[in-house]
Amino acid sequence: MSETIKVPTMAEYMAQGKQPEVLFWVGCAGSFDDRAKKITKAFVKLLNQAKVDFAVLGTEESCTGDPAKRSGNEFLFQMQAVTNIEVLNAYEVKKIVTACPHCFNTIKNEYPELGGNYEVMHHTQFLKSLLEEGRLTIEGGQFKGKRITFHDPCYLGRANNVFEAPRDLIQKLEAELVEMKKCRQNGLCCGAGGAQMFKEPEKGNKDVNVERTEQALDAKPEIIAAGCPFCNTMMTDGIKAKEKEEDVAVMDIAELIANAKEL
């Protein structure tokens, strides 16, 4: 499938003396996690189809520092931030899109004070703007009439008040958007934030992702839509724990749109 995707780097653009319209910040999960890489590719296919002039940093990209900061390691966070900002500023990056709400939040909110000022968009916001500009069309395809529920990533929703872009996209798929009891501002965390992704949970009587998956299953969806690679992992694990893999799929919004278009 790799033959169809075009992923230019900033270095290549620079060599040609050109500036892309937007930088796609892939993030660590999107670069290395097997599940998240599929999201990355789906998003790139959409960018390619919409003929978006984008580039990635490739090997020049490094962790934003989000999990370090939220673990309390402010030194490591700021070292990462300053290094990334140096790279981004050297390429004179103005606009960044990312499929990871953690990267989105960190670059958008925590980098400016350290010298990194960019227009930052989550990929659902970016896809929506492509749609509005008529550069991308969305059809229902295989998702027409399907019951889809959206799990709000904390760092997109509550943390940055982005609630509608992902939902608008789901509705464009002509799917039936069903809400969980806890959604939008009140959405329950998947359990991965604050660097929990990288450690075993403290002792309790349940895992957070199982609790959230149960809430999602209460909405009787055929698909749980996610907008964050970490939420995606946690919800997928939750579905496995509930032995519902046969009935319910966990998919990123970019994947839904790309699959509907049979890209």
Binding site: R70, L76, Y155, V208
Partner: protein, 437 residues
């Protein structure tokens, strides 16, 4: 002898307000033990937040039953307190219902009538609160941090309000002259019938007793605030005013760290140079927080503002899944430790003497701190804009930057980021491999 009641009243008033003022001073001193933080920006937005969230109870109604009941008590509290003005004037001057002399009867009747309606509504609302807490036993009121004092405190407040409202109605009901005018006695006229048949002298005695107990009760309640979660009725206002304005996901960047990082990244800096005059003093004593003095005054104000409603805890993913973390407990612990530090300072002539204790470990355990997902559900849930997450983060910062005491897996994650720019042990040079897979 004629002036004895007036003198007694004045003494009660001075003692009541004086002791409260003394405690307010102590409260301010304690809050100022916190680190400085600049919140002088965006005044207009801050005023709007205060008006919407504190004055307008904007976030209370997110839970409609508790929200509406609370609004009743809140409005009742503010409006009925207008009556105190009359009581104070009467008490000091020796008049009786001065309002009747200076206001047209219709207006006076309307005011007292409104007070009576509200008093009954408050009584009902408070009773429902009591039932929710003690009979229905709503989960959030029965978490592990809600035993002993916090549990009793909540009930004492409800009893106080019930008694004060009852005294107000009895005071009106047994006021023969007021009942004769028959205006504004919307509810007290029915209570008056319970007392019918009593001789006027005895009625007067009951009326005076109710009047005195009512005003003394209010003064006692005023002084109870400092020791109680009920302090929120005052502090909700500054707390919502000074609350964070940035997006919830934006956690503060530590300036002290920025300075160090900039220095490390600057090739022109001589690492062996003697520090310039005065720079040593600029460095903080420690990174992050292990005790209340390391927190900001805003975080300490947060702690005093907390009314222990538990909305934060009931929304917390860690708490919902049985972990020890409870954002409410973080706030309660911070206040308890701050009080302890304050008492220590009082006992040691204005200076804090190390007591071998701190907020970390002695109050808040590491297990609680590491259970947080930083999801901001607690911040969103708080009806008075308290930010428990900021305290959790500052304490994690202390654990990691001062003690290198992160859980092993997190240390591995951080080592990975340091070495190869990702939380997992993948080579940075492989970052674009997905393209060809």
């Amino acid at each position: 002898m004629e002036y004895l009641p007036n003198i007694c009243f004045a003494i009660a008033l001075v003692l009541g307000i004086g002791y409260f003022a003394k405690n307010v001073k102590k409260l301010t001193r304690n809050i100022k033990l916190g680190q400085d933080v600049d919140v002088s920006d965006n005044k207009s937005q801050r005023w709007r937040n205060m008006v919407r969230i504190a004055l307008g109870q904007g976030k209370m109604v997110k839970r409609p039953i508790a929200g509406v009941l609370h609004i009743i008590v809140y409005i009742g509290f503010i409006i009925i307190n207008i009556e105190i003005l009359e009581i104070v004037i009467d008490g000091l001057v020796g008049t009786h219902r001065i309002g009747l002399k200076v206001l047209p009867i219709s207006i006076y009747g309307f005011l007292i009538g409104a007070f009576e309606v509200l008093a009954v509504l408050v009584f009902v609302a408070v009773t429902v609160f009591w039932i929710r807490r003690n009979i229905i036993k709503l989960q959030r009121f029965w978490k592990s941090e809600m035993t002993s004092w916090p549990k009793n405190d909540a009930n004492y407040i409800l009893y106080f309000e019930m008694v004060l409202m009852t005294l107000f109605l009895i005071m009106n009901a047994t006021d023969v002259h007021f009942q004769e005018i028959n205006t504004g006695n919307i509810f007290s006229q029915y209570i008056a019938s319970w007392f019918s048949g009593l001789p006027e002298l005895q009625l007067h005695g009951i009326e005076r007793t109710a009047w005195w107990l009512h005003i003394l009760g209010i003064l006692v309640f005023l002084n109870y605030l400092y020791f109680s979660k009920h302090l929120h009725i005052l502090l909700a206002f500054p707390n919502t005013f000074y609350a964070k304005l940035e997006p919830k996901g934006q956690l503060n960047n530590l300036d002290a760290v920025t300075k160090e990082v900039k220095m490390m990244m600057d090739p022109n800096v001589d690492p062996f140079a003697a520090p310039a005059e005065g720079t040593a003093a600029e460095m903080p004593a420690k990174f992050g927080a292990s005790d209340v003095q390391d927190l900001s005054w805003l975080q300490l104000l947060n702690a005093y503002t907390c009314t222990e409603c538990g909305r934060c805890t009931s929304e917390c993913p860690a708490n919902q899944t049985g972990k020890k973390l409870s954002p409410r407990k973080i706030m309660m612990d911070t206040r308890d430790r701050l009080e302890e530090v304050g008492k220590n300072i009082d006992a040691n002539k204005g200076e804090f003497k190390a007591d071998g204790k701190q907020l970390l470990d002695d109050y808040i355990t590491r297990e609680e701190l590491w259970a947080c997902t930083t999801c901001n559900a607690c911040v969103e849930a708080c009806p008075v804009s308290i930010d428990p997450l900021s305290i959790i983060l500052d304490m994690r910062r202390y654990l990691v930057m001062e003690q290198s005491a992160a859980p092993v897996e997190l240390n591995n994650m951080m080592t990975n980021i340091e070495n190869n720019g990702a939380p997992w042990p993948y080579n940075q040079m492989d970052r674009l491999n997905w393209k060809n897979e």
